[in-house]
């Protein structure tokens, strides 16, 4: 990627992180749509021999040979039996029955995690710079489990099975399914097994935001990643006939529109269909849109497809207006016709102009790439949000990372829009999603693991979480673009990753397999459920009191139940919830003191003890936090933050309260 290394501060540590030989020992396994091995990001120049413990293979298939792999792309496998069993044989005229990526998504995610440095990367000149993965010297192993018709659990399990056997250090999965209990969710089951073997599993949180309870991949042994913006934009200005200007975004690169104003029409007024405003295929009347710029509403069909629909109907340009679902979030696309995406408020103003002017006109001008955009990051509207619908006591997502307008490697088999009509071919593409933020964290985790090879997956995640930031330099909370207001831990988790701080977190909240087993006991897992998830017979100790609040998680979710007395909620009833945590010293001897800040006075937060002294490495100290609250109306939420500091490190944890 370009810009994200700088945005994440990796340039500051360039001297020791990317050059370190140990990062070359790290292997990131990416379960996705495969890899385009000819991508410059898979160049293996300067890399040493393949790590000696590597057991993976470069599987041969259509358009994919042994020689497709090298010292960067060290493994490539494909899994299609589950897919073919359900949807029939793969149409090899449309996709390769091999590890080759015909889609682009897998090349984008794997090069984001661990692509080599490529000077002079850009998409049509946009986002130009040196592109590199987060762990630029780490190795990539690709497991193709996703095909044109989706990703099937039989194949995903097979991919994870092999990735574990092959010897990857990190598994990156930018995919998800419905919300189901851990013992029925193949991703959670596979991730548990990976975690047991010391492999960190990083997954995308999902793109179902900004709705609450919209998260995927919420198992506590998975690192769940939401998406934020960078400080980079691709402005495309819309000028109306009334002289008003609006700033949208676009990655259009073809012939610009003329300077003169062109007729403008609302798609809803150029269609006989009730959903004509959405510019769905076949809904626009060519005689009404020919030679005009068409305003389409965002939603339902792909943004780039709307542009094609306008173009095919004879339109010369498109303004794509956000609706309430996306608010002011601007996602740039490499449209096939001059187009600009504008926010909801600007879209509404343009629509009012359209309905009030007898001969509305407009033009669009493209301004390339702008950096230094503030505020940044902001939480992407599409990024899935908590609370956690499977285990409300575990706060998810864990962190956010860059996931909007991300440049990374692309397939040579599809154009940047992914549309069949797009015959352009590019080495890099700019796309958005929690699919893009997940591999950022996967690569950063590989980098941290390289520097701290003895750290468990939970310790690596803890380092990323407790050092994440949730405010700007001004002190203001990171914004949520869906609302334009301050985001909450249900949107950003512990905050935005800060990998440089994560290398030296001071203390970590560690977790071992037995801690997760205790967590499952707390969930009252049956013997069968245990075996399904953890492949073992385990009987929880009946004399032991298991509690989800004792899972040594680096964040706190505290769901209070409204007390019921005499058939109604009692205003005087008090709830008390106690959490226990253990901190492990991974820094120098130091004394840490706790501080708590809260936006509510309704919850009394007591930490015991208030000071922890660590005198040796790996020393562990336990503390308890007691939350006491009176009854509140159901649906109330509030947030707080707990920090341990020795004056040098800040070990931060978000706290989310809900009353149900």
């Amino acid at each position: 990627t370009t810009r994200t290394p700088l945005f994440l501060g990796l340039d500051r540590n360039d001297g020791f992180i990317p050059q370190s030989d140990s990062t070359g020992e790290m292997i990131v396994g990416v379960l996705d749509t495969g890899a385009w091995p000819e991508s410059q990001s898979f160049d293996d120049k300067g890399l040493g021999a393949v790590p000696s413990n590597w057991k993976g293979q470069c599987e041969v298939g259509k358009n994919f040979n042994f020689s497709s792999c090298n010292r960067k792309l060290i493994g490539a496998r494909f899994f299609s039996k589950g897919y073919e069993a359900t949807l029939g044989p793969i149409d090899e005229t449309k996709e390769s029955k091999s590890p080759r990526d015909d889609d682009g998504h897998g090349t984008h995610t794997s090069t984001t995690a661990a692509g080599s440095v490529v000077e002079g990367a850009s998409l049509f000149g946009y986002a130009a710079g040196a592109a590199r993965g987060m762990a630029a010297r780490a190795r990539v192993a690709t497991y193709k489990v996703c095909w044109l018709g989706g990703c099937f659990s039989a194949d995903i399990l097979a991919g994870m099975d092999k990735a574990i056997e092959d010897g990857v250090n990190v598994i990156s999965m930018s995919l998800g399914g419905g919300m189901t209990d851990y013992y029925r969710d193949s991703l959670a089951i596979g991730a548990f097994s990976a975690m047991e073997r010391g492999i960190l599993v990083s997954c995308s949180a999902g793109n179902a935001g900004p709705s609450s309870f919209s998260l995927s991949n919420v198992a506590p042994w998975i690192t769940t990643v939401g998406a934020g913006t960078l400080d980079r934009d691709f402005p495309a200005y819309v000028t109306l006939g009334n002289g008003k200007n609006f700033s949208g975004v676009s990655l259009y690169s073809g012939k610009p529109l003329s300077d003169s104003l062109l007729p403008l029409i609302y798609a809803g007024n150029a269609s006989n269909f009730s959903n004509g405003n959405l510019c769905m295929k076949g809904t626009l009347i060519p005689s009404k849109v020919a030679g005009k710029i068409v305003l389409c509403d965002r939603g339902v069909n792909a943004r780039v497809q709307k542009g094609t629909v306008v173009k095919e109907a004879g339109g010369v340009g498109m303004i794509l207006a956000n609706t309430e679902a996306n608010g002011e979030e601007l996602v740039a696309d490499a449209h096939l016709l001059p187009a600009s995406a504008v926010g909801q408020s600007d879209g509404d103003i343009i629509k009012r102009y359209l309905s009030s002017d007898a001969n509305p006109t407009a033009t669009i001008t493209f301004a390339g790439t702008k950096v230094g955009i503030q505020p940044s990051p902001v939480v992407a509207a599409f990024s899935s949000r908590g609370p956690n619908s499977i285990t409300p006591d575990i706060l998810k997502p864990d962190v956010i990372a860059p996931g909007v307008n991300i440049l990374a490697g692309w397939t040579g088999a599809a154009g940047p829009t992914g549309l069949a009509v797009d015959t352009r071919r590019v080495g890099f593409n700019i796309i958005s999603g929690t699919s893009m933020s997940c591999p950022h964290v996967s690569g950063l985790a590989a980098m941290i693991k390289a520097v701290h090879p003895d750290w468990s997956p939970a310790a690596v995640r803890s380092a990323l979480m407790t050092t994440a930031y949730n405010t700007y330099k001004t002190g203001a909370m990171i914004q949520d673009i869906a609302t334009g207001k301050a985001s909450t831990p249900f949107d950003h988790g512990s905050g935005h990753v800060d990998p440089v701080s994560a290398l030296d977190p001071g203390l970590v909240y560690d977790l071992a397999v037995e801690d997760y087993i205790g967590f499952l006991c707390a969930l009252n897992y049956s013997q069968v459920q245990f075996t399904l998830l953890a492949r073992r017979n385990f009987t929880c100790d009946p004399s032991k009191k298991y509690s989800v609040t004792d899972l040594n998680y680096p964040s706190f979710a505290v769901p209070f139940e409204t007390a019921i007395e005499g058939g109604g909620a009692s205003a005087s009833a008090t709830s008390v919830v106690k959490h226990t945590r253990t901190l492990t010293n991974v820094g120098s001897p130091a004394t840490y003191k706790v501080s708590v800040s809260s936006e509510t006075r309704s919850v009394k937060i007591a930490v015991q003890p208030e000071s922890l002294t660590f005198s040796s490495p790996n020393e562990k100290k336990t503390y308890t936090v007691t939350f006491t609250t009176p009854s509140m109306p159901s649906g109330t939420t509030s947030f707080a933050r707990l920090e341990w500091s020795d004056g040098k490190h800040i070990v931060g944890s978000p706290i989310a309260f809900t009353w149900t």
Binding site: D32, G82, S153, A154, M160, L175, T434, V528, T531
Partner: protein, 85 residues
């Protein structure tokens, strides 16, 4: 109705490895034997060694119900489709 009965679904079959009869040397043979006992035609798609103990296969409703009743079968879960994010 007959056609529906014959329609196959992809399942992930979870086995209790500890319950493998002593007559088998390898769990993969036990999986295959269990599958063969309920279906003449079902093929194993994958056997899993690390993430679960079990295998994936295509079964009719009836075959799935028969398999469910065999010793050592923990659960038979239908395959699920996931989406890229």
């Amino acid at each position: 109705e007959e056609q529906l009965k014959m329609e196959k679904t992809t399942y992930i079959v979870h086995m209790a490895k500890s319950q493998m009869p002593a007559t088998f040397d390898e769990h993969a043979h036990w999986y295959a034997s269990s599958l063969e006992s309920v279906s003449d035609s079902a093929e194993m798609l994958y056997t899993y060694d690390n993430v679960i103990h079990g295998f994936s296969t295509r079964l009719t409703d009836q075959e799935a119900k028969s398999l469910e009743g065999l010793p050592g079968i923990l659960a038979i879960l239908p395959q699920v489709r996931y989406e890229l994010h």
